[in-house]
């Protein structure tokens, strides 16, 4: 049992503020990912939860108890570092046993706990090796082993996969998800990789420049990003943005003027905007398809990336030079060609000039 609550956390380093009033509640056994670009404060926030940094103001609660100034050991957390932080002079066994030695665990129990962790992580035949003799993935598992022998209430991961190659990263992602299920513990995971966030998280917190942008399930973030930042950050390839002036607003949505398409009603729940105000309209590459009618958004194709299952088309659309469309299969498109793209009105995301989203009316099955 472990819930984690962050209550209006602010953090300054000297005179510069790096975290602004972050408040979230993490439920028991939940896998939460903090995601955001480099320097957004996600690692600082994790270190605050760990007890490696103090809060400037606000509270960290674990299981309802304020632990803001408690030692990491009293918080019942364990942490896996980005660099793994393995002790190079100690064997794998001793590395995993380190927290138990600190806690003066009796020898027999220590042996048993280390062996069990090694067993879970398939390190049994590596116990006598030094970390330097292991591959990246094995080191990663040793670091995880060291954190699970403590049987903490909350696991903290600081970009644990960023030093691995792409194939191994995919593998470890699945392993971590399995580990989460088998350990039944609360986990907080920091990454800058939105794919990791989308694939592993129960809920994701998106941070930007120290501010909480959105906290929700992956599909919620994908289908209903609350801000333009989240919309652009979640999803790959990135969402395309167009500016369009607002023609009218009514209960059905907003009517805007789009390049080439012209007047179009977008079914969103409108927030207060002025007529004539410039709106940002977003459309995901995967929501675009080749038009069969010869109408739609005209895209001048610059580069094609054929992935087999899909084709990424990059080109310029009107005054937007970096537009991307993701077409199914081997799309019949050539570089240099002008193609017309169709998009359902309901697929558009609409943001006001401050970047706040208007909620889309269409809700995918999974979110109902």
């Amino acid at each position: 049992m472990a819930t984690v609550s962050l209550k209006s956390i602010n953090k300054w380093f000297d005179s510069s503020q790096v975290l602004y009033d972050i408040s979230i509640d993490i439920e028991d056994k939940e896998f939460v990912v903090f995601v955001g670009p480099s320097g957004c404060g996600k690692t600082t926030l994790l270190r605050i939860v760990a007890g490696l940094e103090d809060v400037s103001s606000g509270e960290v609660e674990i299981d309802g108890i304020d632990v803001s100034s408690a030692h990491p050991i009293e918080r019942g957390i364990s942490m896996v570092f980005q660099s793994y932080a393995l002790y190079p002079h100690l064997s794998v066994f001793e590395n995993i046993a380190f927290p138990l030695r600190v806690a003066k665990t009796p020898k027999a129990k220590l042996q048993e706990m280390v062996m069990r962790a090694a067993d879970i992580l398939r390190l049994t035949d590596r116990l006598e090796h030094k970390p330097g003799q292991l591959s990246g993935g094995q080191r990663q598992r040793v670091a995880i082993g060291r954190s699970i022998v403590r049987q903490p209430k909350v696991f903290l991961f600081d970009e644990p996969l960023s030093n691995l190659d792409a194939a191994l990263r995919g593998e470890m992602r699945v392993e971590l998800s399995k580990l989460h299920k088998s350990l039944n513990a609360t986990m907080i995971y920091v990454t800058h990789d939105q794919v990791e966030a989308m694939t592993m998280a129960d809920r994701i917190m998106v941070l930007s420049e120290g501010k909480l942008e959105q906290f929700g399930t992956p599909m919620d973030l994908y289908h209903h990003p609350k801000t333009k930042f989240v919309a652009g950050f979640i999803g790959h390839p990135k969402m395309n943005f167009l500016t369009a002036s607002c023609l009218s607003i009514d209960s059905d949505g907003v009517k805007v003027e789009l390049p080439a398409i012209g007047k179009q009603l977008l079914p969103v729940e409108p927030i207060k905007v002025n007529q004539g105000e410039e709106l940002e309209v977003g459309v995901r590459p995967e929501d675009l398809m080749l038009s069969e009618t010869g109408k739609g958004l005209p895209l001048k194709v610059d580069v094609l990336e054929r992935l087999g299952g899909s084709t990424l088309v990059y080109g310029s659309l009107d005054k937007y030079p970096n537009f991307c469309a993701m077409l199914q299969g081997d799309a019949n498109v050539r570089e240099g060609e002008l193609v017309n793209l169709d998009v359902k009105p309901a697929s558009f995301h609409v943001f006001d000039s401050n970047g706040n989203a208007m909620k889309r009316r269409e809700v995918p099955e999974i979110l109902k």
């Binding site: 002079h89 330097g132 060291r146």
Partner: protein, 307 residues
């Protein structure tokens, strides 16, 4: 090049083109240089040790110098004193260096200033530093005697360098004073090379300061500690200026180490041959000591090695 041409290559051409020759050619200047400044004097010392070289010329006398040295009843005492001097001084330098490095590694405002302040004993020319210490140890005007008298520990003026025991330990203290800064700086550099993540990981796992020092800092800087201990041991063994300026090996030989003894014999008494014998004893003992030490170092490195 055709095979016909190859057949005409002279032996000389083949030699010049061979890798081994080229390698020797590249090494030659350095080898020649080393031979001139290390090899030749060493050979010359060995040669001298078999002569009675002095102001009046030299004559081959076989092993006479060695017989004389080994039957000298004072010599074992000098050897023992030298090792005691080395052991005591190096131990103190290591301990103080470690403590100093730890303190200087603390995150503290003005840390850079403290790091600079640790250097003077090392930067100040040794002769000048030692003359400073001569005054410190002076019985009538020295600060040490003055403070001790003021505190009531001493009844009256005490000439630290005038008595056998106090002179020896005073020389040790001065030697430690001179030698500690470098050890400190090296240890500090090694400590800064230890990843901060390791300390944080241990902290999160509940390890106390002492535990982290014992199980992370020490093993991580162990290779540097051992290397510094060896270098420091060699320097201390051969430390000459400090003792010479403070006591000239006195009183009554209380601070005469092997190197002082060698100097007195070879230079002060003009017995170059007999002095060379003693110099060779220094070389041999240090060589044996270093060899044993390197074997040990290898073993320890094996244990603490990363890969």
């Amino acid at each position: 090049m055709s095979s016909k041409n190859l057949a005409y290559n002279s032996l000389w051409q083949r030699l010049v083109r061979s890798h081994a020759f080229y390698a020797w050619l590249l090494i030659a200047p350095a080898a020649l240089f080393l031979f001139t400044i290390v090899g030749w004097p060493l050979i010359e010392t060995v040669r001298l040790s078999f002569t009675n070289a002095g102001l009046g010329g030299e004559e081959y006398i076989g092993f006479y110098n060695y017989e004389k040295l080994f039957s000298n009843r004072k010599y074992p005492g000098i050897v023992g004193r030298t090792f005691y001097w080395m052991f005591l001084s190096v131990s103190l330098k290591m301990i103080l260096g470690l403590i100093g490095a730890l303190l200087l590694n603390v995150k503290l405002r003005g840390r850079a200033a403290f790091r600079v302040l640790v250097m003077p004993p090392w930067i100040v020319p040794m002769a000048i530093g030692c003359i400073g210490w001569l005054w410190v140890y002076n019985g009538h005007f020295g600060i040490l005697a003055g403070v001790l008298m003021h505190l009531g520990i001493l009844d009256g003026p005490f000439e630290f360098l005038a008595y056998r025991n106090s002179a020896f330990y005073s020389a040790v203290i001065t030697d430690v004073w001179v030698g500690t800064p470098m050890v400190t700086v090296f240890f500090l550099a090694a400590m800064q090379g230890v990843s901060q993540d390791l300390y944080e990981a241990a902290y999160v796992d509940g390890a106390s300061r002492w535990y982290r020092f014992r199980r992370i800092t020490i093993p991580q800087i162990m290779p540097v500690i051992l290397t510094m201990a060896l270098l420091s041991a060699i320097w201390t063994f051969n430390s000459f200026e400090i003792i010479w300026i403070l006591t000239e090996g006195g009183p009554r030989g209380a601070t005469t180490t092997m190197i002082i003894d060698t100097y007195k014999m070879a230079i002060a008494n003009y017995k170059f041959g007999y002095g060379a014998t003693r110099a060779l004893m220094v070389v041999m003992l240090l060589a044996i000591f270093s060899l044993l030490y390197l074997v040990l170092l290898n073993k320890v490195n094996e244990r603490f090695k990363v890969k």
